[in-house]
């Protein structure tokens, strides 16, 4: 005979039904014994008031035992019936009943594979998010750099425009051309200087060889 541990009931009630029944049985039995002892002691005390009577404490004890034995038999039988009813009808959860706290198991019966797939999907999403986040950081960093570069370039542009407006102010519209002519000549002079240098080097070498 297999013993039903009634674990699901214990989950609900916070105690095992059988333990509860046992506790109650022991308590009831204790009261019965206690009451019988009280009855016996009361009777014995009353007997003290009748010193002539021929009733011995031993006889009283025998009577008590007789009554107690009888009571105990009926007590056990009746309690057993009560326990059966309580365990079947009151302290039990029918097989088709799911406790509300366990609803998720009905709603999401995920197998190991399905669960793993869900976890994998989440890891993937986290990776993607991290990638997007660092991409965003890089983009914003470039935006900052661009700001600085743009500022520099605009400064240069402004400088050029400033030069232009100075020319206009002093009415030397040819200033640009003469400046350009000057830079050209300076370059030509540099070229000529270089030629002269090279030629003189050659002459010196020629002299040395001689």
């Amino acid at each position: 005979m297999s013993v039903n541990p009634m674990a699901y009931e214990a989950q609900f009630f916070g105690f095992t039904p059988q333990t509860c029944m046992l506790r109650v049985y022991i308590a009831f039995q204790d009261y019965l014994f206690e009451m019988m002892l009280v009855v016996e002691s009361v009777i014995l005390k009353k007997l003290d008031g009748f010193p002539d009577c021929k009733i011995s404490p031993f006889q009283i004890r025998k009577s008590t035992e007789k009554f107690l034995l009888f009571m105990k038999e009926h007590f056990d039988k009746l309690f057993s019936k009560m326990e059966e009813v309580l365990l079947q009808l009151v302290l039990n959860i029918p097989k088709n009943v799911l406790l509300p706290e366990d609803k998720v198991h009905e709603q999401y019966p995920y197998s190991k594979e399905q669960f793993q797939a869900l976890q994998d999907e989440i890891h993937q999403l986290q990776k993607q998010y991290r990638a997007e986040a660092s991409a965003g950081q890089a983009l914003r960093a470039e935006l900052e750099e661009q700001k600085a570069v743009r500022a520099e370039l605009e400064k240069i542009l402004q400088w050029f425009d400033g030069l232009e407006s100075i020319c206009r102010e002093h009415g030397t519209c040819n200033f640009k051309e003469s400046f350009a002519f000057l830079t050209q000549n300076a370059k030509k002079l540099q070229g000529v200087l270089k030629d002269v240098e090279e030629k003189s080097k050659k002459i010196k070498k020629h002299d040395q060889l001689l």
Binding site: V24, A27, F67, H74, L78, L86, P94, N96, L99, V104
Partner: protein, 169 residues
Amino acid sequence: AGGDGGPPAPAAPGRAQVFSTVVDTFLEKLVAAGSYQRFANCYRCFYKLQPEMTRSIYDQFISQLQTSIKEEIQEVKNEGNLEVLFNSLDKIVEEAKNQEEPAWRPSGIPEEDVRSAMVPYLLKHRSYLRKVLKEKEEENRKVAESVLAGRDRIAELQQLIQARKHAWQ
């Protein structure tokens, strides 16, 4: 008991009712078994000596026994909060009355059982991640547009500067 005035009271008695009835029946039958006749018969000698006393002792015994038993039951009900639990269980059973299949029970293997408990959280987490990922992608798209526009602008400025430079050559 019942009587919330709305839907009709259930035909079957609730667990609390059955509990009380069963305990009362137990007591009744126990008292019936331990009748006065039986008591007096066991204590025959004392009964012959003091019949009234015997009766009074018996009455007290029975009354005290019943009181103790009822008190114990009440204590058990209070400690276990049984009234509330019984009513709650009645409701749960009533709601499941159309379920014919045996319901889920703990498998005894925590790793297996905890999976389903975690699923709702994981699902929530997944939808959250999907949402923020989408937002981040959208955000980055806009920033990328700005970056590209910025590059164009810088190229433009560089061209303008080159043009000025050439004008001054």
